[in-house]
Symmetry: C2
Subunit: 385 residues, 2 copies
Amino acid sequence: MIFQPQLRIPGPAPLPERVVRAMSQPMIDHRGPEFAALLEEVVRGAKQVFGTQNDVIVMSSSGTGGLESAIVNLVTPGDRVLAAICGNFGERFAEMAAAYGAELIRHEVEWGQPVDPDDLRRLLASHPEVRLVLLTHNETSTGLTNDLEALVRVVREAGRLSVVDGVSSVSSMPVEVDRIGADVVVSGSQKGWMAPPGIAFAAVSQAAWEHSERSKGPRFYFDWAQHKKFAAKGATPWTPAVSVLFGVREGIRMLLEEGLDNAYARHRRCADAVAAGLQAMGFSLFAAEGYRSATVTAAVPQQDVDVKAYRKLLREKFGVVIAGGQGKLEGRLVRVGHLGYVTEGDMVQVLWGMEQALEELDIRANEGAGVSAAVASLNRAAVPA
Amino acid sequence: MIFQPQLRIPGPAPLPERVVRAMSQPMIDHRGPEFAALLEEVVRGAKQVFGTQNDVIVMSSSGTGGLESAIVNLVTPGDRVLAAICGNFGERFAEMAAAYGAELIRHEVEWGQPVDPDDLRRLLASHPEVRLVLLTHNETSTGLTNDLEALVRVVREAGRLSVVDGVSSVSSMPVEVDRIGADVVVSGSQKGWMAPPGIAFAAVSQAAWEHSERSKGPRFYFDWAQHKKFAAKGATPWTPAVSVLFGVREGIRMLLEEGLDNAYARHRRCADAVAAGLQAMGFSLFAAEGYRSATVTAAVPQQDVDVKAYRKLLREKFGVVIAGGQGKLEGRLVRVGHLGYVTEGDMVQVLWGMEQALEELDIRANEGAGVSAAVASLNRAAVPA
């Protein structure tokens, strides 16, 4: 059987042909004028996507490296740091801060539930010594999107700095860094940016810069000040992942041509279609209603489903690659990514494959109900002209 | 005027068409079987290139990130570390160690001169508290290659650990990690590997692993233990630069098809041709004789040459991109890279352009003497059948 591969993990996301072709260029001097133009366009576009006039630092690493940059530039060993944790990535962010000497206050929320702004307000009131608050916008492990605007408002009103893992949200859903007043927001190229992995972004507010200048965390590769100094000359301090940046530039061009609001609406329509389809097939959604992510849907299958075997069958027979659960959810969840280069038709195809595979495993999947529910969801959604 | 671009900086190096095409592939799941096969082939090939059976860690970063990985995995803040410095990259390596809390013993050698093994032996004898010795194999800023085998022998005989910046040497000249007994050697994909920037390698000996397990340096993104744990499952701990790895795999295939010894000899022939040509044109070579690098030639031009204007003319009129001096050598040197995807014919073309550009600037360049000397050098060199 041949198939059109459907890479539907929550990143790396599939690459548009335009992006693949954009990477097919001769190598250039990373200190020359062509590179300066490349970096300038990427930074200018990234600022539009982040919705910010703050500096956007471009680093050659995965999103995890981008998050590490926030920790090493902001945390002085011994600092008390509040980490709001509602899944595996929040957990990782907290571990990273601890690795660099932060004394953590761990605010743990049941996985699948959002962080409550009122809880955060109370915690901050009882911990006046805390300067940094680590937040996860989109928790990829549970398919949940926190109300970032509300959480950042609480942090700002308490006079602290918000440090946001936006790795899998920025470019796929509105973040609007300047409007909501987030201090640091990090993202990664392999998510909604429609580019290959290898580039991380950090949007850094003036207050965060001032904090970083005072902070004594050890840093070199991820030192924002070095990046800022070289960016002023149209370069990066260390040799950047040039080919990946060619792809990032093209991905940003495509996003801006589509229009960010259109891209966000497309993600939402795909997410709603998947949610409807999976529920009709007998899955139950893992994330709390009202907080379901536009980029990844986490769902608990019917109890007879062996997640590992199901994913293998999907991959090998239908070309549909989805993710399983992470951390304590390993083996319990499937996660369908719908971010970046994703369309409504892809979702219909993916759900059809997921339905067929369930039937092959002799799991009753309401025969076609999943695809029908997805199509009905798409029919209800308003598609911009 | 149209031209065949000649990117002749000491990295990023030009990409073979095969490598560019190899990157033109759909994105894959970084936790799936295709990625496991990709990583396995890259690691197996990298071990051949390093000449080692030690673990080779594959990280998504520039070579500088690879060097940082050595520091954060091996240095406990307060450790006394000996840094042998003979140029800008040795300086950077030392600064990085200091940033992570090393108490440095700086062994500074005049730029352009090699590190003397006897000096190193004496220094180690008078500093029994030192465990780590930072060495630069190929000092890109001065066009000098240290006698790594002799230096590593001194370190080993003194019972210390050698930590080698091999960023711009490994894959272009023999390193033979196991034979010489180097503990840690780092390289970067954009050099002799004929691949784009974005991947760093670290070859790690058993003694270095044991040291890293005891060391208390803060680390997360570059934590070797995490990389080793995930490598056993055919994956990386964080999302890797997949497209770059497609290119790295193809570059390694090309290197092994050519044969490593042939590749090393090709680099040497190109270096010797450039050295002969530049000298005939009135440049003087910067690095001490007997230590001139196979991957980059640093040369001081005649005193009337404005290096910046010369490089600009070369780039814009002849498509020849060369580097200038770094650090305290800025404006004083030109540096011609000849590493990775480079052939003898490229060198003739580059020297012809360099000669023409000198004439355009009204600098007497012995009219054709540079190209003639390069051709004579190539005629003297034994080319394998």
